[in-house]
Amino acid sequence: MLFSSIVFLFTFLPIVLILYYVLPRQFKNPVLLLASLLFYAWGEPIYLFLMMFSILFNYISGLDIARNLGNKRAARKSLIFNVVVNLCVLGFFKYEGFVLNSLNAVLPVEIPFQEVALPVGISFYTFQILSYIIDVYWGNVPVQKNLMDFALYVTMFPQLIAGPIVKYAEIDEQLHVREENWGRFGEGVMYFIRGLAKKVLLANTVGMIYTNVSGMAPEDVSVVTAWLGCLAYTFQIYFDFSGYSDMAVGLGKMFGFEFPWNFNYPYIAQSVTEFWRRWHISLSSWFREYVYIPLGGNRVPVPKHIRNLLVVWLLTGLWHGAAWNFVAWGLYYGVILIFEKYFFHRVLDKLPEVLRHIYSLVLVMVGWVLFFSPSFAGALEYLKLMFGAGGHGFMDGEALYLLISNLGLWVIAIVSSTPLVYGVYERYVGRRKPVADVVIYAGMFLLCVAYLVTETYNPFLYFRF
């Protein structure tokens, strides 16, 4: 089920909210759990079993690790067993095709295999589970003895499908004690509507420009057209994913939870390092905490630090997708971050702000080419077009048309990806003018609904991970 669907907005969510607020405290978690299972089963009934098996296995593993904490060796064995099983399950569903296709490409024999569909949200909920298991092992959190609360942590529908990746330590207490109030509820509604507007009004609209360009024959694409297509995707993926995260955070607040922020205006970053402090924050923080720091982080000699960065970014790339272009995408960022850390930072610091922005955005956009292309070869082809090797000139009528006919949209997308719009809103409306506030949000909501009733199925880009 999509947050940006009529059935979710006008049936599922109202029913769950009513039940949640009408029923006494002891029924609130069961209501959320049942709603979450239904939410997941709506699109993937067969994979509901996988998630339930995963919950049971990890619940038992958590208990096993916790009781062995006094015996470090036994606890460590139990942890390794658990991590291996979780990664094998994730690996099978996500990487089986990639691995066997890659092997078949180099081996003289063809290994026959049957690919299965990727269970939605498996990368997100597996990482959440691993955060719990590792934190129990490290003694950072107490073991969860209540199976239902553990199941709720894993399945909670607001962030089940596409994050943010909520670490168990961040939510442990809230599973037992949380306060729902009108203030938080209202804030949640505002977050949700902002996210919905980002997805429906901005991501889907600007995404049409990208679809248009990506559907063009390469020989018809000029340099500017290629850059405009890439820029459109740059905006689409930001509004799509951050919109989803805003909706998730908003829904969490409606049910009394506080989820971590996932985005902080990444496109205003002045370096790629800063970009990654602002983009998909929950994933970066997961890798930092559970991979980078255990490997030694930056408190090791330079060669080891470089190795650590490359390992983290290779894994980040692989987490996003089982294809060579994602591996390249991850390593691309790993290399840039290493260069920024050891070589560029002195130069970057001296550059004017505007040049730092341009530098960061150009590198990020080149990164998105690796990300949106169906294959590594496809990415190289698109990059050729962007850098003038396409043979269709620098600018043509199509580029001019894309630029002029969407001028308003480009401007809206640019200002909406900076803190400007929200800053103006906070300054002139905010909480000082509640009526205007309600009118603005109600207007945005109605506009979104108007778009949704005429729109076809349009899932979030990050569902594929």
Partner: protein, 164 residues
Amino acid sequence: MGVHKDGRLDLLNILKYFMVLVFIGYIVFLLSRESADDVPIKTLEENTLAVISQEGMDKGTTQDLKRFYGLNVQDLDGAALYIPNDIMSVDELLIVKMKDESQAEQIEAAAEQRLETQKTSFEGYGVNQTKLLNAAILDTRGNYFLFVVSKDADKALEAFKKSL
């Protein structure tokens, strides 16, 4: 591992290993289900339609299948057809479940012929339509065939492959 400190294989460990067996059994079940040779045409149709824009096309009839492709539905195990709903539209989807793989050649030829006819119709004046037609996908997998003309043709192919 599996043996607790008192030397016994206790309930918690038995359950843990049992769950691993459950995972394996479940994956075997999924694989056998995926490799089943009888995916209903309706499933393929639903899965494919879920990922493509249906704007520009309507469900076609068995007469349309005969008219545009020269195929008789009774010769096939099943077919789902969506045809352009506007004179300027080229969006089209055909999914066929064959009775056996020997029909593949005939069906591929029929779809190629249809594609050529459409290309000829729009050549020279329908720039966007020609782009879509040039990006059309024809794919045969076992007893199943897919022909799609859509801006989402890649997604349709992906959904088609994953459904089989």
